[in-house]
Assembly symmetry: C2
C-alpha cells in the first residue's frame, strides 16, 4: 500500500494539469480526434497542446508542429499514432522532459510479427528518459472527478465511486452509458492495455488510495505479477472491497483454434484460488461485476446472512426467496414482536411469513415507511430485500378519477414518487442495515429514477439482488475475519 | 393434445365475445375498477355488462343490478368481489346460463381458516351449473390478439408470440412492460390462481393449440397433476417449445418459518426430473425464462453447438467466449475458405480467431453485411453471436464534422441505423442459422430499437446470449431425438 497517492506512477497519468496530444486532427474518422473531443467535451480545465505536422488548429485548439516547440513541459503525453512512429515520439517527449504518457496506439505485442520488437523499442525509449506510461494498445483513462476523459467515448454520466482497472478498454468506455442508466459512475477508469510499463497491479495500488474510489472493479484476462497482486490485494481488502471478473474464455477462444485440452478449467480454478487467497470477490459476468460494486459501495455492511424479503406480489417474493436460498442467505421467521407491529399494517390476504407479502397496502405509503421500518428493526435479521413496483398507469388512473387534470399530474406524480423514495432513504440512515431493492421495471422508470437519485441500490431482478446481498455478506465476513486477531 | 382449440375449457374464458363484470365501480381505489379499465383501454370489441348494486353507469357503461337482468347470456363472468359473496354470485351466473368465469377474488384456500370451505362451496356452485372457471385468487387473462385484457394493469405492448401460464399473476401483468421494452409480448397470458377448477395443465393444453403462441412460458410453484403434466408436455414439445421457471424458494420461504429440513433440495431435484422427463427447458430466473422464449420463438433452430462470435471489442468478445465455454457451446476455428473471404475485410489489428474481433471496420457497413454473411456461410459453424454497439455520440460527431446540421441529423441517423438493422435481418432470411445479438446498451437505444423492430433477438449481456443460444441448441437436439424413430 502506498503512503500517498502522489507516490503512484499513475498519479500524473490520471490527474494531469497539461497534456501534449498526438494523433488528433480535424477528421472524425480518426480515433485520436474522437479522443481529444472526449477530453474537450468533459470540460478539462488544464492546458491541451495538440501536436500536428500540418494543422495550425486542431478542434479549435492551437496546434504545434513538434513537442519540442511547446511553451511548457506538459504533465502527460497522449499518443494515438501509427505504430511505427510511437517509439520515436516517446523519445522526443523524453527530450522535452515529459515524464508520463498514455500510448493508445495498437499493433505491438498483441499482433505478433514485428510487434514485440517495436514494444521493446518503445519501452527502451521510455526507460531512457524515466517516462512511466500506460499501454500501448489501451483506450486511456477516465477520471471524471478531474474532468479528465481521454477515451474514445464521451463521458456523460456522473462521477461515481467505482474505480476500475481493465485489460479491455471497452469495459471502461462502453460502461459509461451502462453505469449512467443506474446513476452510477466511475471514480476513475483505467484501461491498462499491453501493460508494457504500468500494469494492473500499479492500477490497483493507485485505486486503493484514490479518495473518490470506495470499491475497486477489475476486468482480468491475465495477471502478470501474481504474487505482487495477491499481497497487494490482501492489504487493500481490509478497508476497500475488490471485485474481479476473469474472462477465462478469452483463453478458450484462442485455444479453440488449436485443440481442446481442457486447459481452461485449470486456468479458471487457478484464478479462483488467487481471488480466494487475496480476498477478491469474484463476479461471473460484467453486469454482476457492477452489481457487486454497486451494493459494496452504496450499502451498509450486514452483520450476518439473515434476510427479510418485503413484497406486494407473491411471484417476485417467491423468486427472491428461491434466489436467496441458492446463494446461502437465510430467511428467518419474524419475531413475535415484529409480527405484532406488522399486524395492523397488513391486510388479511397478505402473508407475514418471510417473504412478507402485503398483496396490497392498506395505506400505500406504509410500503415505503412503516413496514420497512418495522422489518429493519427486527433483531433477528441483518438486511432487507424490497420489491419495488409502482405502476405509473395505476397512479394516473387514480389521479384521473380524483378529478386531477392531465396538466397537474406530472408534478404530482413526481412529488409522490419523490416522497416515497425519500422515505425509504430516511430508513437507511436510521437503521445500520443494508436495504437492496429489486424490480423488473426499467431503471428509466420515473419511480425507480427517484430511488436511484437517493442512492438506493435497485437491481434488475430478484436473483441479481440476492447475489449482490450475498456478496455484501461475504465481504462483511471477510473484513470481520481479517480484523479479528488470531487466537494465541 | 386437443384436436381443436374449441375443445379447451379455456377457449371462451380467453376469447369471450361478451362479459358480465362484477366488482367494478367508478372508484379507482377498487381493484375491479382497474381491471375493467384495462379491458376498456385495450379496445375490447365485444359487449361488457357491469353488474353493480347501486350505480346506473360504471366507467361510462350501462350497469345492471343483477346478472339475471342482462339482455343476453354473456360468454364469461368476471368476479372481483368480496370473498363471501362469490359462491352465491357463481350460482346466479349459473342460473342465467353463463358457462365460463374468472374469479379474481382472493381469501380462499390460500389464507387457511374458512378459506378452503369457501373454495369448496364455490366449486360446488360452479359444478352444479357446469361452469368452468379460472381462479379464485388469480389476476385474470390477457389475450391482446383478441383485444382482451382483464388484468389489473393496462396492456400497452404489442401482441406477441409468448403464451404464458403462471401461478403468479404478477408474472403476467408486471411483464407487460418488461416484454414491451424488448418489443416482445404475450400471445396470451393466463394467471391460474388457486386452480380450483381449470389448472396449469389445462392452460398448457390451450397454449399448445393456440395459433398465436409459438413458445410456451410457465411460472410454477407446484404441479398438482404431475403425470398429466408430463404426458401432455412430452406431446407438445415435439412441435412447440416449453420453458419453465420453478420457484423452489417459495417452499423455502414457507418452511424457513419452521425448520431447515433440506426439503427444498429434494423438491428442486424432483422438479428438475419432471422437466427433463417431459422435455421442458428449465430457466433459472424470470429474465432467463423470457430470454429463452425470445430466441426459441424468434430464431432458426441450429443443427449443432458450434458457434462463431463476431465483435469489434476484445473484452465483450472474450466474455462471450468464456460464457459459451461454460454452457457447452463450441467455438470452432474458421476454415481456410472463410479466412480467405474475411482477410480483405478485417484490419491488421483485428483477430481472425474465434471470436472474430474486428477492432474497427474498414467499412463500418461490413460489420452488418459482408462479415456476418461470411461467418454465417462457414460450414463448420451452426450459429452466430454478434456484439452490437453503435454509439450514437460517435455517429453524431462524424456527421458534425461532415458539416451536417443538427436539424438533419435525426433523420439521417434513423436511416443509417435502419439500414444497418435491415442488412442484418436480410441475412437471417438468407442463411438458415440462428443469429443472436448481445449488447450492454439499453433496449431503448435507437440502434438496438431498430434491430428489435426487425425481430432480431439482442440480449442484454454476453452471458445471457450464450445461455439462450445453448437453450436453442438443447431444444433443437430434443426435437431431433424425438423425431428420430427408435432403432428396431
Amino acid at each position: 500500500m502506498l503512503n500517498s497517492i502522489l507516490e503512484s506512477p499513475l498519479f500524473r497519468i490520471v490527474n494531469p494539469q497539461s497534456i501534449a496530444f498526438f494523433g488528433a486532427s480535424n477528421r472524425f474518422t480518426s480515433m485520436g480526434t474522437n479522443q481529444l473531443s472526449s477530453l474537450k467535451s468533459l470540460g478539462f480545465e488544464g492546458k491541451i497542446y495538440p501536436i500536428h505536422p500540418k494543422e495550425k488548429q486542431v478542434l479549435e485548439l492551437k496546434a504545434y508542429l513538434s513537442v519540442l516547440d511547446l511553451p511548457e513541459v506538459p504533465d502527460l503525453a497522449v499518443m494515438v499514432l501509427p505504430t511505427r512512429v510511437v517509439p520515436q515520439v516517446m523519445a522526443e517527449c523524453g527530450q522535452r522532459g515529459i515524464k508520463n504518457a498514455i500510448v493508445v496506439s495498437g499493433g505491438f505485442k498483441e499482433v505478433g510479427g514485428e510487434g514485440p520488437a517495436l514494444e521493446r523499442k518503445l519501452l527502451a525509449a521510455a526507460e531512457k528518459f524515466g517516462i512511466r506510461f500506460l499501454g500501448p494498445n489501451c483506450l486511456g483513462v477516465a477520471n471524471p472527478h478531474h474532468k479528465f476523459n481521454v477515451t474514445f467515448l464521451p463521458f456523460e454520466g456522473r462521477p461515481g465511486f467505482i474505480g476500475m482497472a481493465s485489460q479491455s478498454g471497452s469495459f471502461i468506455t462502453q460502461m459509461f452509458d451502462y453505469l449512467r442508466r443506474f446513476k452510477l459512475g466511475f471514480s476513475t477508469g483505467i484501461s491498462v492495455g499491453n501493460e508494457a510499463d504500468v500494469d494492473l497491479v500499479d492500477a490497483l495500488e493507485y485505486l486503493a488510495v484514490c479518495p473518490h474510489t470506495s470499491v475497486i472493479a477489475l476486468y482480468i484476462e491475465t495477471i502478470r505479477r501474481g504474487p505482487a497482486f495477491i499481497e497487494l490485494a490482501r492489504s487493500i481488502v481490509r478497508h476497500k472491497p475488490i471485485v474481479a471478473y476473469y474472462a477465462g474464455g478469452s483463453e478458450a477462444g484462442k485455444r479453440a483454434s488449436f485443440s481442446h485440452t481442457g486447459a481452461l478449467a485449470g486456468a479458471d480454478a487457478l484464478y479462483d484460488g488467487v481471488f480466494r487467497q487475496s480476498g477478491v470477490i469474484r463476479a461471473h459476468s460484467i453486469p454482476e461485476l457492477f452489481d457487486f460494486c454497486w451494493v459494496l459501495g452504496a450499502c451498509t455492511r450486514p452483520q450476518g446472512n439473515r434476510v427479510i424479503i418485503q413484497t406486494h406480489s407473491g411471484g417476485p417474493g417467491a423468486a427472491a426467496a428461491d434466489a436467496c436460498s441458492r446463494v446461502g442467505l437465510d430467511l428467518p421467521p419474524l419475531s413475535e414482536k415484529t409480527l405484532a407491529k406488522l399486524a395492523p399494517l397488513v391486510p388479511h390476504t397478505g402473508s407475514l411469513n418471510n417473504p412478507v407479502d402485503l398483496t396490497f397496502s392498506k395505506n400505500p405509503m406504509d410500503f415505503f415507511a412503516a413496514i420497512p421500518d418495522v422489518l429493519l428493526s427486527e433483531a433477528g435479521a441483518d438486511g432487507l430485500l424490497v420489491y419495488f413496483l409502482t405502476p405509473t398507469q395505476i397512479v394516473r388512473r387514480n389521479m384521473e378519477s380524483m378529478g386531477i387534470s392531465e396538466d397537474e399530474m406530472p408534478e404530482l406524480i413526481d412529488k409522490l414518487f419523490g416522497d416515497q423514495a425519500a422515505s425509504v432513504a430516511d430508513l437507511l440512515g436510521k437503521h445500520q442495515k443494508p436495504l437492496i431493492g429489486f424490480t423488473f421495471q426499467s431503471p428509466d422508470n420515473p419511480f425507480i429514477q427517484k430511488l436511484l437519485d437517493h442512492g438506493i441500490a435497485v437491481l434488475p431482478s430478484p436473483e441479481r439482488a440476492a447475489r449482490a446481498m450475498a456478496a455484501l455478506v461475504g465481504y462483511s465476513r471477510l473484513v470481520n475475519r481479517l480484523s479479528t486477531p488470531a487466537s494465541p
